[in-house]
Amino acid sequence: MVVVRPAAAGYDLAPESPVALPAGDLPTEAAGIRKTLEVYVRAVENKDVQLFRSVKPNLSDEEEKRARAAFKSVQSQVVRISVLSLDVRDGRAVVKVARRDTLNGSIVSSFPQTFQLAKETSGWTIQDIGR
């Protein structure tokens, strides 16, 4: 089991990445997890349901309908995620983040979020999203 807490020094933000990882020692899976979260962010920003499904393959038909409706109702959305902690064990990860979304250029919403991921042959996928 590897648990990483953010260091006081701040975050390791890859160039132009919308997902910032905490500084300090990170599990080897951190890069793969970040890549999945980056795809999630790109799917939200580009309103791409197929891309969304690629990182959350257990998306139900009802959830897909809600996702399409959400994408339709937003003119633009910019997502920034700061990972607060990574808890990786037995091919599963619990990632707690602080998220800041800018809707339609000016509506800003900040809120905590918890992603539960699972490692599959194709890489990390999102199993559940919660507060």
Partner: protein, 433 residues
């Protein structure tokens, strides 16, 4: 001694200047239409003691038509705060991490819905309405017939009457700016500041009906231009005033959601900031708690609101001339309707807006029967009763870009109760930050 005379003279000048200013107020136009002392016709008749006959006539029109002021003030208090455009608010779908518009509809224009605007969100707007009132209690304001009777009427001279054909042309323009702020995700605070311009023109054609003195026109007459015994005279009076109206403060909370219905509670507090003597405000504070229920449907959202308004004392409900105050009538206000999101940027709104005004003096058309037992004239009287007033409203909110909304609405009378405008247009802009 000289100093005392100077002080008295200065006081007299100030008092007369004050009286002149007071007389210019719109609330005095109808009571003073025929002069400060009312309707007095000329007379050359001498009393047995040799004194000149003072021919003073009275009517409900002059004595009680201050009810018109109350009706107008009541209209000014009835203008609602536009519902904020929560169509621009978003809620988080926590299982997907996606935002969705709270509702596709931009909401009603002249009624309420339970949704709040969202924490720390702000919407501002301005609405312009222009009322050109046409009727009061079904009586055409351009043709209000009233009969003035002689002081101490009695057969044999004092049964003469003066009939009047009165025309009242009144318009009110109201530019209302408002700001709505989300104190929390479920509680909004709002303020509405109206700028009001009221224009009032009153004219009357008074005609002496010599029922008991037909053989002697010198007893009751209007001196005509040639010095003869005329039978009619025109009286006119007009004025215009503008300024801030009554500021309204609001708190509204979305308290619960019952299935597809959101329920809210709110309270409006009206401050008597408008100059009631110039018919710019009600002249009394008002408190209106209300409950609102609205569908959370994204496309079609019905809504219903019920509120009860308590009002303080206003000189408009009392006697503006004497300066005495009385309670402005209490009101039960209700509205219901629906907003339909035709497209993502166009919402149609239809509403029925009503109120029940309790124990108010209301004009009632009557027929005057002269003391000769034969002659009749159309007349008015005033009775105390509660009455419903119903209006319809149809309009739209259009979102041309960003979070800007263009509002347009027409308010139309569905009955003849109260002071009514057949059609009242509204245009406005809203912006949500």
């Amino acid at each position: 001694m000289t100093r005392r005379i100077l002080v008295l003279a200065a006081s007299a000048v100030l008092m007369s200047a004050g009286a002149a200013r007071a007389d210019e107020k719109l609330a005095f136009l109808i009571p003073h239409l025929f002069g400060q002392t009312g309707l007095v016709v000329d007379s050359e008749a001498r009393l047995p003691n040799g004194q000149t006959h003072s021919a003073h006539f009275n009517s409900a029109f002059q004595a009680e038509f201050t009810q018109f002021n109350v009706a107008l003030a009541s209209q000014l208090t009835g203008l609602p705060i536009p519902s904020p455009a929560s169509g621009f608010t978003y809620t988080l779908d926590p299982t997907l991490g996606l935002f969705n518009r709270s509702t596709k509809s931009f909401g009603p224009l002249l009624s309420e819905r339970a949704e709040t605007i969202g924490k720390a969100k702000v919407s501002v707007g301005v609405h312009y309405q222009r009322f050109t009132f046409d009727k009061i209690e079904g009586v055409d304001l351009s043709q209000v017939s009233a009969v003035f009777t002689h002081d101490n009427p009695a057969p044999g001279g004092r049964d003469d009457v003066v009939t009047t054909d009165n025309a009242i042309d009144v318009s009110v323009s109201q530019l209302t700016g408002y700001l709505n702020y989300g104190l929390s995700s479920w509680l909004d605070a709002a303020v509405s500041v109206p700028l009001v311009q009221t224009e009032l023109n009153v004219s009357s054609v008074a005609t002496i009906r010599r029922i008991g003195t037909s053989s002697n026109p010198a007893i009751h007459f209007f001196r005509d231009a040639s010095g003869g015994f005329g039978t009619s005279r025109n009286f006119t009076s007009s004025g215009k005033a503008s300024g801030i109206g009554d500021v309204v403060l609001r708190l509204k909370a979305r308290v619960t959601t019952l299935g597809p219905v959101a329920v809210g509670l709110g309270v409006d507090g009206r401050l008597p900031t408008g100059d009631e003597m110039n018919l710019l405000g009600a002249g009394a504070w008002g408190v209106k708690p209300f409950v609102v229920a609205s569908s959370t449907g994204k496309t079609f959202s019905p809504h219903v609101t019920v509120g009860y308004e308590w009002n303080g004392k206003s000189v408009l409900a009392g006697d503006p001339v004497a300066g005495t105050k009385a309670d402005l009538p209490r009101q039960l206000k209700f509205s219901g309707g629906a907003a339909l999101a035709v497209t993502s940027n166009l919402t149609l709104a239809l509403d029925v807006i009503g109120r029940r005004i309790f124990d108010a003096r209301r004009l009632s058309p009557t027929t005057f029967h002269a003391l000769d037992g034969r002659t009749t004239f159309p007349d008015i009287s005033f009775v105390q009763r509660s009455e419903n007033e119903l209006s319809g409203a149809a309009g739209f909110k259009f979102n041309p870009r960003g979070r800007l909304l263009i509002d347009a609405n027409v308010l139309f009378a569905l009955d003849n109760h109260g002071l009514r405008d057949k059609v009242t247009p509204l245009v406005g802009l809203e912006y949500a930050f």
